[in-house]
Amino acid sequence: MRLHFADYLIIFLYFVFVIAVGFIIKKRIKSSNDFLNSNRSIPLWITSLAFISANLGAQEVLGMVASGAKYGIMTVHFYWVGAIFAMVFLGVFMMPFYYGSKARSVPEYLKLRFDEKTRALNALTFAVMTVFSSGISLYALAKLLEVILGWNFDLCIWAAAGIVMVYTFMGGLTSAVYNEVLQFFLIVLGLSPLIIVALQDAGGWEGLKANLEPQMTHAWKYMDTAEHNKMGINFMSLIFGLGFVMSFGYWCTDFLVVQRAMIAKNMSAAQRTPIIAAIPKLLMPIIVVLPGVVAIALMQPALASKGYAIPMGANGEIDYTMTLPSLISHYYPTGLLGVGITALIASFMSGMAGNVTAFNSVFTYDIYQSYFVKDKSDKHYLNVGKMITLFGILFSIGTAYIAASFNNINDFLQLVFSFVNGPLFATFMLGMFWKRTSSEGAFWGLLGGTIAAAITHGLTLAEGKGGWIAPMFPISSGMGQAFIVASFSWLANFVITIVVSLLTKPKSDDELRGLVYSLTEKVYATEKKWYLRVGPLSIILLIITILLNFIFF
């Protein structure tokens, strides 16, 4: 792939704009609350698009296209079984607690609901996870640009980190959120022409169905048993593992995304943020799943004349990660190629900036202010927040080089993240909806769930991964293994939390007011127009989601 002047000009223009956003926002930053929480003043359309864009990082864009190529239309389950239901649940049931409790972060909510040790456990693991995720994003960006464009790896690392540092240091969370919205439009508009031309080349949807085996174009039909589909799981594992545990665990408890709803102007806007975000999320498979399915169709003998192929990896097998870059390279001429490459760069930078801003909020409020330096002036915490942003970026660069030095570090870290994130939703669900849940129950449940995840991984083997205790249960795909690990960790957390809670003393009703469903005044719609209300919007979304599942059954 070779870029020309017009391509470089578009990439340069993008860099100028993201840095300019930082400078424009800078004058609004007067307090730590402005820098770390955007002073809860961001309009609904921006929080909604930032909510979805914070998740639209490299893993989402490259990963989902790769999964589309590997597993086919089944990949839409991440959206139409997982994300949409979880986002609606967050908006309707959980935002009233996050926003109404006035907590500045998810760990701070855990402190209010449970105690310091549960907050510390969540804050520390989250801080480590975000800084590593940010570094892995950076590494993946530099590696991709080195492979497809031949750019210098070190230069890519430092230039990308430098740009993210400039705009997050200048404008804090608001700057990151504003750039996420720009990145969202860039990714959608930059990749839309690719879908149109590639799908047309493959003969449209009918052409896909004619050229691919039926498992690739049906979402549910072959999920009766694990042996009948490429993901290697049945519909029960999918609904519980992905639809419930993993999706609800991510969308409802991960501060990286929840933070975007917590900075809305009022409770109504905070509740509607994930629900409005669910509308573009519903359509996102067109941008990030369909290209993968089209790519595999284009490689079939009947379409060999199109001259497209996904590159092979060093092991001689298809390198699915390269599906999207290879499609861009095949279909985009000079000019649009610059837009496509910029969209890829934007997705990586979006992921990195999202992680850094979530990291500096949690580190400043939940670690530094809580355990090291209390009761200082706001100016002090503003300066600390800015310094933490710099350190966060530097840690990310360090992590990127660690990732470059160890072949398996990415896999290992993703695995550890899944151990920590998997069981977390059980803690929140019980904490928010069962007032008997005690602080001891939450803490030991969380630890027990993480250990259960590690044990399940040690006993299952998929695609050469896991089975480090004893490979007793073979699973045909890594994705199926992830669902099963998450399911067991959630169940362990759920059971341990209930048992320990019943044996220990819960907090009093007075302490739990506003933090638990049964002790919180219900929020009723204040908007006069029905389409601005959370209830009707949620019902319409869920009906459309169910219909889409039937259409692509």
């Binding site: 020309h4 017009a6 000009l9 578009i10 223009l13 993008y14 704009f17 300019a20 956003v21 424009i24 609004r28 003043s41 309009p43 921006i46 504003y178 919205v181 720009l182 439009f185 860039l186 508009l189 839309s192 022409p193 031309v197 102007k265 279909y331 985009y332 001429p333 000079t334 000019g335 649009l336 610059g338 837009v339």
Partner: protein, 64 residues
């Protein structure tokens, strides 16, 4: 004009108008950019950019 830079929709619109200009001017003048996909994408981005620039963001103006 400078005040408008405080509006995110204006900034996004401006970005896409400039990208569209690069694609459209390139299509008209440069041989390597003379591809229909550049023309159609450029026109699409131009329409989107103008739409975003025209949006009035009252909430955002409070910051300016």
């Amino acid at each position: 004009m400078l005040k408008k830079l405080n509006q995110l929709s204006f900034v996004i619109g401006l970005f896409f108008i400039l990208v569209a200009i690069i694609l459209l001017v390139g299509y008209l003048l440069g041989a390597s950019l003379k591809q229909p996909i550049n023309l159609y994408s450029g026109l699409g981005m131009l329409v989107f950019g103008i739409f975003m620039v025209m949006i009035k963001e009252q909430e955002e103006e409070n910051h300016s």
